[in-house]
Symmetry: C2
Subunit: 202 residues, 2 copies
């Protein structure tokens, strides 16, 4: 005989399976048809659920996509500390090259553009993004820089938020505006220029 | 008696007046109703022209908005050389503070977000943006940096494209993602951090 507890735990499992199916469908579809043509109907059909199931949990396609990214970042290898070999410049180049590779990956390009677009136009979603996705990632980046700063490898009075934005900002911007080639060499130049600064070093 | 030449010059004048009315209407409307609700019908009604007049010249509302920005940048004070007082740090702070003020101006905020969104999703428009709007502005910024570089105030081997992206990228990114406050002090910190670099200076 099934106890009420068991029923509700089965329901929770079914519910979690639907949730994952919906988020995976949203992520795959935005890549296949583009964000403009992404619809709640389309996501429901692909995930094999009713439209109402989606509307019960999410008010818009933008929030579905946001949770899809959140699910990806919750995966075991989604959020890890930055490499720390002791060579800050080499480690930063490794990480920025990985960012370049991700931005150039056709599987991520359209979903990431869609997410950025929604954030640009929706202050509430932007706040959720800063708090739940960008914030935790930024903290990992700052941890690596903080370690280097303590070891005397970075300027003592450096604002670590600004340091992170100086390393990743140009890259994200060039990708979003398609204003130049996004290559591993560009990632390296960003790291070298940010570390050394624009002024002459003697 | 009106000569054919006069007729066609009158027609050109009328046509130019319609063009300016359409572009001004698009710019004002996107600020008033938001980009999502901006429509060719709405622009036509506000500009006092027929819908077909707009479709004859522009394929989409994104291209209308792009030309509206182009018109703004063609105005006498739209594109000027960067200040050159001899003090590079002070001049860059002046210019970045002006950028902050523009991004915080409610009149520009929504139209600029819309333009960035369209660019992010439309490679053709992105190419036009790089060639006709961003490119010329970037050239003015590079001119100022080139002068400083020749005077020995900047590193000899500095990549000026990367330098410009390092100064303006973090700012645009913070604005677009709403990831932090956009203040004059932030503009100053960006300039100081970019000039000095993240490494300790001795």
């Amino acid at each position: 005989m099934t106890t009420p507890r068991k029923i509700s735990s089965n329901a929770a499992r079914r519910s979690e399976a639907s949730r994952r199916a919906i988020l995976t469908a949203a992520f795959d579809l935005v890549h296949e048809v583009g964000y403009a043509k992404l619809s709640i109907e389309g996501i429901a059909a692909r995930a094999g659920v009713g439209k109402q199931t989606i509307y019960r949990w999410w008010p818009s396609k933008g929030t579905v996509l946001f949770d899809a990214f959140l699910m990806l970042s919750d995966e075991p290898d989604g959020e890890a500390a930055l490499p720390d070999t002791g060579d800050l410049e080499a480690d930063l180049k490794t990480v920025l090259r990985a960012t370049v590779a991700e931005l150039n990956d056709p599987r991520y390009d359209e979903p990431l553009r869609a997410l950025n677009t929604e954030i640009a136009h929706d202050p509430e979603l932007a706040a959720a993004y800063v708090e739940r996705l960008d914030g935790p990632m930024k903290e990992l980046k700052k941890q690596r820089l903080r370690g280097a700063q303590r070891a005397g490898q970075l300027a003592k009075d450096l604002d670590l938020d600004v340091a992170v934005e100086m390393l990743w900002g140009p890259l994200l911007n060039r990708w979003l505006q398609r204003s130049g080639p996004l290559t591993p060499e560009y990632a390296d130049t960003i790291v070298e220029t940010a570390l050394n600064g624009l002024l002459p070093r003697r």
